[in-house]
Amino acid sequence: MKANIDMSALAVFIFFFVLVTAMGFFASRWRRAESLDHLDEWGLGGRKFGTWITWFLVGGDFYTAYTVIAVPALVYAIGAYGFFALPYTIIVYPLVFAVMPLLWKAAKERGYVTAGDVVRGTYGSRALELAVASTGVIATMPYIALQLIGMEVAIKALGLTGEMPIILAFLVLALYTYSSGLRAPALIAFVKDIMIYIVVLAAIIVVPSKLGGYSAVFSAADAAFEAKGKGGILLDPTQLVPYVTLALGSALAAFMYPHTLTGIFASSGANTIRKNAVLLPAYTLLLGLLALLGYMGHAAGLQLQSNNDVVPTLFKTLFPGWFAGFAFSAIAIGALVPAAVMSIGAANLFTRNFWKVWVNPDVTPAGEAQVAKITSMLVKVGALVAILLLPTQFALDLQLLGGLWILQTLPALVFGLYTSWFRAPALLAGWAAGFIGGSALVWSDGLKPLHALAFDGVTVSVYTGLLALALNVTVAVAVNLIVPAKETADDDLHVAEAESRS
């Protein structure tokens, strides 16, 4: 196998990996707090991240390494349909602008660290808190595994085989996250994003010039889909509704995830978030251009074993070894940032909404930070074991369900910002209906994200996550109307108790 390794590519890769590792450990001293033995410091970086750090951090954990691999792969495989990520990552920002500053304000005023904290503070229901928190943890686990898949693809493209490189990379990630908390991915995000920007700019300028321009790229893709008899550079009439509902459902789910929410809570103010809603679409432009690499794969006539290889193979074919090495390090480092933030988000949830509530209510702030550090480690080990022992398809299927699951926490998390009409039992019933009903629907459809609905003989496929959300809200409204308010009076006591404590 050694003959396959390009030494200059490997040298570039090792250089950048060592660089970010050093930065990861140094991060504990960056914008130093009195002590990192507090969850606000370890898990939220002290809630002091201004506009630019938030931009790099949220951009870095929202547009993940797996995106860089998977979106072009999907576009390579089926064409226009794979572009739903573009409208999705545009319409998400007006939503962030409108909703997230309110959530940030509530969190800052009352010391919330997680979505579970918000729900308990608003409704005083431990059951609802547990539902929201555990949904966050189980939706995040496969997402971390996906980052590992992205890293694996990049490492394999370097010619390194076997499991050792990925284990080593993850060990390093786990150790500096443990010691530096959210400061590590925030600092590394600077390097990661600048590298990705360089890679994408090079690709969108150099690749079409080698392949005869964008017209040639699009017509080559069109011809390839024509020959295959599947996909196309425009949407098929049956793909319109799936395209739109996937974009809308994904946008509604995106900032319910613990890692994106962590980025929001860590920012220094409501206006920081609003400014980011204006500035973050710069990454979307990048994503749209990256997606086109899928078509460039057709124009370059690549022969691939797996669709996921389209980006690495394109770089290996069209660029000198050292630049391909740079691109692969950008992708691998691109996996570290989101994986770290995801494990921190999941660890915060476990610590605040499970450990502190059900195991040790008297835990000190230092104890909380310690539990979170260890949990973040275990979460990552779990993802690593899943990748090494289980088939890749398993992580992908779980990730699909994860999107549906996290979407079911939206009513509990967001409705309370606008109205106090909903009560905990209703939201809990809605969550359960959406979670169980949605999962059952995905299962019965053979783990596909779309469900076919028939109206008057016309069949329309809709993103199952949105259907589950509709069921969720319907059940919540119905239960809230039917169950008399006095049965939930003791919940109000909890609210009062929670407020007096904070």
Binding site: A80, F83, L86, P87, I90, I91, Y93, P94, F97, A98, P101, G213, Y214, S215, A216, V217, F218, I233, L234, L235, L240, Y243, V244, A247, L248, A270, N271, R274, K275, A277, V278, L279, P281, A282, T284, L285, G288, L292
Partner: protein, 58 residues
Amino acid sequence: MIRLLLLAPYIGLLWVPFYNFEEPKLFGFPFFYWYQLAWVPLTSLITYFVYRSVRHES
């Protein structure tokens, strides 16, 4: 009221029959692609406009 402008990208992007065409092309990009890419800076501008008008509130 000015916040309602934030709905514009939803209308522009979620009604696919607006843009599921190949012509007119721009720099070799079919309309489907450049139309959606154009919404990226447009959405930024709209959001910035709303930001400027609401920032005094907080």
